[in-house]
Each structure stands twice: as structure tokens, then as C-alpha cells.
Symmetry: C2
Subunit: 347 residues, 2 copies
DNA sequence: TCTAGCGTAGAAACCGATGTCTATCGAATG
DNA sequence: CATTCGATAGACATCGGTTTCTACGCTAGA
């Protein structure tokens, strides 16, 4: 009647052995006579036996799960990191949990807490990251707690929490990419470059700060002064870029190139430029950041900075599960030249 | 020394109560004196106690987890379904596991098996779906097994397995969208429409079949014969569209419009058309399917069919967790008119 | 022949939280 | 004053595998 699910005990009874023996057949790390094994396997098949991972986890074994925490599943670059994580997790025999935070630090902390309850082998945080002190402290606490429990907190594409905090850090050279792209624009003769997507006054984002830093450093290297008015704060989305660019144009700002902090922003900027009757790259050059898949399909193709997204995700899982490897890695970025940047022309 | 993690017992000892009482404080469904509760809560805080979900799951409680199985995390439409699933799961207090199958039916079956081990509250399969008999049979078996265990198999954007198989089905009107778009093209005067991304000979995909069906039915409604040579099999990716379109052009096929089976295919087709010196929509009209976010950002904007992706994901979770609701739903699709389709012009 | 050793299998404790069943205290009722 | 009920809390079995620790049968070496 109550068929429910078969347990080790049921299988044992059917095969005429003890539960211990069934368990040993399942794990396979202990000698079991061939004939016994065969009988047990048959019983398992006949009863459609399915292991209970919770029972297994309870008696000490690893949960074989990694958790992945991101802002938004639909974010073009995040999705690729997720792919890398999923791939590597699968390769290492792990399952993968995904949680979206929608950029809410409070929710992020809640999610990490939930992952502690799940006893995940690793908790991978990707993107963004606030600089808020209380937040950092709570996160450090989690890092220590996870570490003590044999798990690991991984910061992926965000800066370390501090030297004494046991975390795995996988970054990419955010500032270097911005530096390279800005240099590229400067070497094309641009002297008035707008940076759209710098920091909002309120929320400090390290990603944004780094990109601004690279922008500034390149100007310094070239001995070109930059116009603070052309460094405009904005979000990381298409709409943010569109709004910011339109305002810049309306205000009559003078610039021959736009460096958008993300490709999504660049797409918004592109639309705003078009609406204003400006051609790219003839009137204004446009550069992005992230090299999302569609960057190549815009017309003109978007010149942008490539981030090794999948690699980032794969590395995060690999390092977290093998502590013998270095626990702080910085992956490189490089610019991808397409059609959206041309030589500067006076306006 | 061995700090490890605190258990209910540790908390109980520290608070000077029994484990049962601690458990009651945690669940909160049983009367506990205010003073006792306070002491227990303090002990929990002091010991940094974290619940063990596996122990809880073992003693009968639900696992509060839904599993989400898709082809590829980076697929533009899948990501949105994932977002819907994640949102609704969170809203219902569930965590969310994500597994990618890379379109491999064998891996899909393996993943579903893993989800049975996890005792997930629901297992949501999205996209694709083979028509292969052995596969269907195995999947039906899983559906029954999950059902018997109080869980649920959800088919999202794919056809039912059969009437006697206990599943939740959330579809969208695939054929209707293709019908509407084809009608739109026909009403613009197009009489030679290429359908790129029909079925590959080997692998039968219901999604593709439905889209072809809508295409054919629209022609029949309009009394316009269609050219079988213009129905070309192709994958669902950008490269597939590019290759297929280039071959069509090289072969000198006559057509004034292309209906791409997905927006990704459309993007590939667009590139191929451009390379051949054909303008869109002046020389050739182009329509896609899915309305991925970038469809609006192409130039010209891509006329395409909108699928209620997030809604699909949200509905899947909602129905799976509340069996009182109808377990078979078909969500509507509609065409989105942008600039890539124009009136037919003789070539 | 006796014992050491190997291969194999069972009994029972254990992981951590839950829930049932029982017990106690104080207050309220007859 | 005795009894009963309500509020509260503890003891203990339980969920389903895992893992010692022990034991049996058999062969090989002393």
C-alpha cells in the first residue's frame, strides 16, 4: 500500500543481507563478494532504490554541492560565469545551487546564511560587492564560519575582504582593461572622452571604482587632462546608458568618444547617439566593457574589453575544491577592436 | 578545541534546557515560555548556531528546494525562464538548484536522477525535449516516481508525456506565434519566405516542429503555396543561422523574407545578408522568434515573436507547489513589430 | 594441529533535528 | 480540599545511511 520509497533496509531484506552490506555496495570502497554485490544491485533495481543524500550528508559525508550567488541570472556576463561554475561543478561531481540577490546586500547575506544551512562545499559570490563596513564584517564572519566547517567562501570578480579572512579570490584585471581601452581611445586622438557608468554618489562599487581608476591612469600616462564633468555616474544597465548619454547631449557637452562602463550601457548610449543624429564612429567613437555576445552583432561592432567570464567561474570552483592551489588569482582582460571606435574628428 | 559546528544539543546545554525545547523555539509552532525562548535564542547567537537542513529533511520535513534543468544557462530565453523560476521559488521560500544538460538527453536523465536523490520539491525541465521513445519512457518513470514521493515533474515549454503521466505542464503557444508571424509576412506581400531553423533530419524537436507547423498552416490559410526548398533545417544558434543563410544565398534561392526559428538564428542570418550586400528590410525582410533582449537593439530592430519567458518559469513553480491549480497551462505568444520586416519588393 | 591472517558480513552506535508521549507545576473548578 | 486542566518541558524513538567493532569461516604457515 504505502509504497513510499525503498530504503537501504528494504534492499537489504530483499537481497538477504544486512544494511551495512548494502551501504558498502553503494559506496564501493569496501570488499564485497561478487555474488553478494550482484544480488544487492538486483534488489536495488527491482525496488527502484534511490539514495537519500540527506541521510548521507547527515552521517558526515560531503554534500557534493556548490552554491552560486549572483545579482541577476539574466545579466549577460553573469550568465557566462554561471556556465563556467556549472561546468566545473559537474566535472567535479558536484551539483549547483543558484541564488539571485537582485543587487540587495541584505538578501545576499540571507542567501549565504541559507548556504551555511545547506552545508555547501563552497559558496561562490560573483560581481558587485558593497564596500559598506557592516556588510564586510558580516561577510568576514561567514568566511570564517564556512572555513571552520570545512567549506569555502569564494569571491569571484570582487576584491578580497582582508588578509586574515579565509576566502578564495578570483578576480580579473578590471583596472587594466579600462586602462587599455582608454589608452586605445587616446591613441586614436580622442582628447574629450566621456566615461558613462562611473560611481553613483551613494553606493560604492569596486568594479566601477577600478574602471574609473584605469580611465584616469591612462589619461595621466598620456599626459592628457580629463574633464571631471565627462565622468558621469550611472547604473550598469541599458536604460542607464541611454538616459545618461541623452542628458550629456542635451547639456551640450563636448566629447568625441564615449567609454561606457559596460556593454549594456554602451547599447543604451548607442541608441541615444542615434536619436541625436550622431553617427558611430564617424561623429563619436564608442567603447564598451564586458564583450557580451551581442557586442559583435551591433552595427558597427562594439569595440570593448573582454572578460574571461567562463574561466572565472571554472577557476572559482576549481580553487575552492582544491585548497592546495593558490587561493588568489587575477585573470587577464584584453580589448577587442571592432568598428565602433575610429580616429577623433573635431566637431 | 574542535569547535566544529554547534548542534541543538550544544545550544540546549548552554541554555540549560532540553534539545526538544530548542527545536520548538526554532520551529515556533509549540508554546515555549518567553523567558526560556529568550535564553535559547541567546545561546544560539552566542554559539553561532546554524540549522542543519539535512537533519531536518531526514526527519520528514520538506527539503524546500526546487530543481531547474535547462540546456544552457547562457541561452537568452532560458536565462529568463530561470529568472522566473528563481523569483517564484524565493517567493515560496524555496532554494533553487540549476543544472545544465547541454542538450544531451542522457545527461538530462542523470540530472533528474540526482534530483530524486536530493528529494527536491519539484523538478522543472525546460526547453527542447526529445521525441525518442526510450527517453519518454524513462522520463515517465521519473514522473511517476517523483509523484509517489510527493514531488513533481514539471515540463516547461515542452509537450506532455501522456495523459496518464503525473506531470505539470506549462507550455506557450509555439505554433500560434509562428502562425501569426508568417501571416504578418504574407500580409506584407511576401510570397517566397525562407524558414531557417526547421528540423534537422536526425533529432526531432517539438519546438521546431510546432514552429514549422504554424508556418505551414499560415500559408494554407492564405492559400499561398510554400517552397519546401526554402524550409531549411538548422540548429538554434547564431552560427547555424549564418551558415544556413549563406548557403541559401550561394545557391541562388529566391526569397523576399526570412523567418528565423530563433532570434539567435536571425542574428546570424542578418550577418550573412549583410555580407551578401542585401539590405534589411529593403531587399529582404527578416523575422525572428523569442524576442530576446537584444532584438530591440539590432539595427533595424528585429520583428519577432514574444514568449512570456519569466511568466513561464514563475507559473511552473507556482503550479508545482500548489496542486489545487490546473496542472496544464498554455501561455500566449504575440508578435512584436519592429523595423526588420517591410513590404515585399520584387528582386 | 594450532594459530595467524585474510576476506567478508553483521550488530549497533551515530549524525542532528523532530515529534510523540509522558511528567510536572500551578491555577482553576467543584 | 481534592481534582482537573492548561501551560510547559524532558525522555526517547525516529528518519536513512555510514562506520566502527566484532565475528565467522577458511586457508596458509609454523
Amino acid at each position: 500500500m504505502n509504497a513510499d520509497r525503498a530504503t537501504v533496509r528494504d534492499v537489504a531484506a530483499r537481497a538477504g543481507v544486512s544494511p551495512s552490506t548494502v551501504s558498502r555496495v553503494i559506496k564501493g570502497d569496501y570488499p564485497v563478494a561478487q555474488s553478494t554485490r550482484t544480488r544487492v544491485l538486483r534488489a536495488m533495481r527491482e525496488l527502484d532504490y534511490v539514495l537519500n543524500v540527506h541521510a548521507r550528508a547527515l552521517s558526515g559525508a560531503s554534500t557534493k554541492m556548490v552554491a552560486f550567488v549572483l545579482d541577476d541570472v539574466t545579466g549577460p556576463s553573469f550568465a557566462y560565469v554561471a556556465k563556467g561554475v556549472e561546468q566545473q561543478a559537474t566535472a567535479e561531481g558536484r551539483l549547483c545551487m543558484v541564488c539571485a540577490t537582485n543587487g540587495d546586500p541584505a538578501r545576499e547575506l540571507a542567501v549565504v546564511e541559507a548556504m551555511r544551512e545547506q552545508r555547501a562545499d563552497a559558496v561562490i559570490l560573483v560581481g558587485g560587492g558593497t564596500l559598506d563596513d557592516a556588510y564586510r564584517e558580516r561577510m568576514s564572519h561567514f568566511a570564517h564560519a564556512l572555513d571552520k566547517a570545512g567549506s569555502r567562501l569564494v569571491l569571484c570578480g570582487r576584491p578580497p575582504l582582508g588578509d586574515d579572512v579565509p576566502t578564495t579570490v578570483v578576480e580579473y584585471d578590471n583596472e587594466g582593461g579600462a586602462y587599455a581601452m582608454t589608452s586605445h581611445l587616446l591613441s586614436q586622438g580622442h582628447r574629450h572622452i566621456a566615461l558613462i557608468g562611473a560611481d553613483h554618489p551613494g553606493q560604492a562599487s569596486t568594479t566601477k571604482l577600478d574602471r574609473v581608476r584605469g580611465f584616469v591612469r591612462a589619461h595621466e600616462s598620456f599626459g592628457v587632462p580629463y574633464d571631471p564633468d565627462l565622468i558621469v555616474p550611472a547604473g550598469f544597465g541599458r536604460a542607464d546608458g541611454h538616459t545618461a548619454a541623452r542628458r550629456l547631449i542635451t547639456l551640450g557637452a563636448q566629447f568625441t568618444a564615449v567609454f561606457a562602463a559596460t556593454d549594456m550601457v554602451a547599447i543604451g548610449v548607442l541608441a541615444a547617439l542615434r536619436e541625436a543624429g550622431l553617427r558611430v564612429p564617424e561623429d563619436v567613437s564608442l567603447a564598451g566593457y564586458d564583450d557580451i555576445p551581442f557586442a559583435a552583432d551591433l552595427s558597427p561592432g562594439l569595440t570593448t574589453v573582454r572578460i574571461p567570464t567562463e574561466e572565472l567561474g571554472r577557476t572559482a570552483v576549481r580553487l575552492a575544491l582544491d585548497r592546495r592551489q593558490s587561493q588568489h588569482v587575477v585573470l587577464g582582460t584584453h580589448i577587442v577592436v571592432r568598428g565602433s571606435v575610429g580616429p577623433a574628428t573635431p566637431r
